[in-house]
Amino acid sequence: MPFNSISYILFFSLVVTIYYLLNQNYRKHFLLLSSLFFVGYKNIESIYLLLATILFTYYLAKKIGSTIDIKKRKYLLRLGVFISISTLFLFKYIDIPASFGFDSNNLIFTLGISFYTLQNISFLLEVHSNRLKTEYNLIDFSVYSTFFPKFIMGPITIPQDFLPQINSDKPLSSNLTIGIQRILLGLVKKIAIADSLAEYVKFNFEKNHTPVGFTALLISYLFTIQLYFDFSGYSDIALGSAKALGFDLKENFNFPLRSKSITEFWRKWHISLTSWLTKYVFYTVSYRFRKLKKAAIPIALLVTFLLSGIWHGVGICFFIYAISHSLYMIIEYFTKSSRLEISTKIPTKIHTLLSIFITFNLVSLSFVFFRATSINNAFHLIKNVFSFKNFLPTNWKIDVFEHIAITSDQFALFNLFLLIITLSLFLLFEKKIYSIIINPKTNYIFIFILILILMIMGTYSNPEQFIYNRF
């Protein structure tokens, strides 16, 4: 049941309706049942695997909580983390289900494993360090672990943010408005914008069709924008679904494409993963190496990004992606005060625009490795971008627009322009749009516009998977 499918919309409407009719005391039980159905509707095996993981993590967490001996606590924590990570490796990297004849694309347990393994680890860590003050029982923990809006692709939620919400009374009708508006926005971002872009990006990323110079750069921009709309669209649907049920999940994106530095970009892009990694990896490593003073930070950055790369997938492309971002960040770290000095000498507006432009370019170049199907393709595209001799196209219509639009048919060019105008409007006014969305007052005009865009520009005949489904 991907979020961009009719079956999800039906499932969700049914869940919301029953949820509202139920007494508050039974709502969490119903949520758990719905989530289990969400995970297991295709194959019951997913539920068994999930329940085993839940029971293991829950009882281990209780055991850690009740143990006083510090050494023993540490031992139990290590055991839990080790087993969680081993499960992740077995299912994600070695693809154990495949050897039993399962298609891992259909095994929902495997689809969500990258995300909720991190969540379970954070649960154990928070219990171990006594930071989790909320009381919880098996049902509460299971709801936290399986909550369907965040199950497949996050946002990764730490227990303190979620557990208190399970048993609290929630005002529902205003939440429902925000939730539905947000789901609609997410669908527009995904179905109308990201999926339409996908076709152009896919074609132009193939080695035989790689464009040259400016057009190649433009394609790398388009992928960055596609990924942003795809993943933030997903997050909007996830947060919207949760909101309609009265839950506030952590925002995953905070207008990242407006970042003025890579450091800022990582505070605003896939926030739930970044904060997980910052809290549990970056701080741990830099704390351990802090006697090294200035050198501690680069080491910690490198370790963090490499782990993030491995989490996304094993391969040389993700390795280069991770290395490039750690390099960006290390350079930024060491030039921080001098950059601040420069900024005082340039008019603020120009400085802001220039910083956003440079950051966006650096991010887009690194995302080439994220997208490319092979390292050769990635280097090929990068090489084409830097072909300075013929960087600017001689014939804009043929070399740029017709190349990106795949054919020179009038209707293909028309579609490309329609798409570019729409996505530019969404990018330019994203802050305004966000403020409309989170306003509990129903904005019928806005809802109508979203439905209209969905109908006129949505991709239905061959829907694309969410990009982060792979991770």
């Binding site: 209707f411 109508f448 949505g458 239905y460 005949s461």
Partner: protein
Amino acid sequence: MKKSYKLLLFLCFTLMFFIGLEKFYDFFLKENMNIKSSYISKNKINAKIIILGSCGPFATISPKEIEKYTHLKTYNLAEDHVNILENYLSYSLYLENNKSPEYLIIYTSPETFDERDNVLHSFHFSQFLDNPIICKTLKEENPNYYRWTFIPFMKYAYYNSKFNFNVIQGIKHYIKKKPTTLQLTGYSPIISPGTIEGKNKIHRITYKFEKKYKWSKIQEKYLLKIIKLAQSQNTKIIFYESPHYVKSNFNFIKRAEMQKKTKKIAANFGIDYLIFDTMKLSLDKNNFLYATAMYEEPSIQFTKVLSTYIKK
């Protein structure tokens, strides 16, 4: 109470809007004279000879050439990238608005019956979903699409990238009232690249592909439907296969087997099946864009031969 009243009003408005938008698209897509299905149902063509098929005849058979020899009005109803199934739909649509022809010439090369060509471009016919034959066929052959068409405007939303521009073009055609020449004869030749660089490269790449044919039951089913429809109206049917680049034969596994099946159908219904494999044209690779599609120049030569046969 006020809130639910507002919501109801909004839902009604949205529903009405999309019903209206669907009618709007219906109307202007039918006005777009660059779309063949719209052109034939808007204009009286009443040709005596109709050509049916895919890109092969679409790009090789010039109705004007045939008229030169036969003195019978000819229209090329073939289209790029279509198959027999879509031919059936176009032909039924054509008959709604036009007299049945005397001759129906159908391109039936083995490529036509390959399973790989089972794609149905439903969006060629969305504006004609009120036509019972088209409605029934799309329901049977593309249920994934048909399932949603009860939702207002969804019949366009589903393939929207194919319509938005065409609607605007339709508005232009409606306002200007100027007949477009694109579908006048229904024929669109492939201009030979002549001196374009890399011309030979195209040939070599194309002929390297190995094709393994698999007989498509769906195409057969709709061929039979066309035959029955035509024969019930006393239209004489001719099957034909244009020259293809002979040297590429060795890559075309099972081609002969496919041909045999078509021959059998032809024999069952008393239809002539013309094969022009042995023509001299087939020997020169410079005549071909790819193995089964000729450039303009050689295709006119071929049309001459075909016309003489029809005349007989």
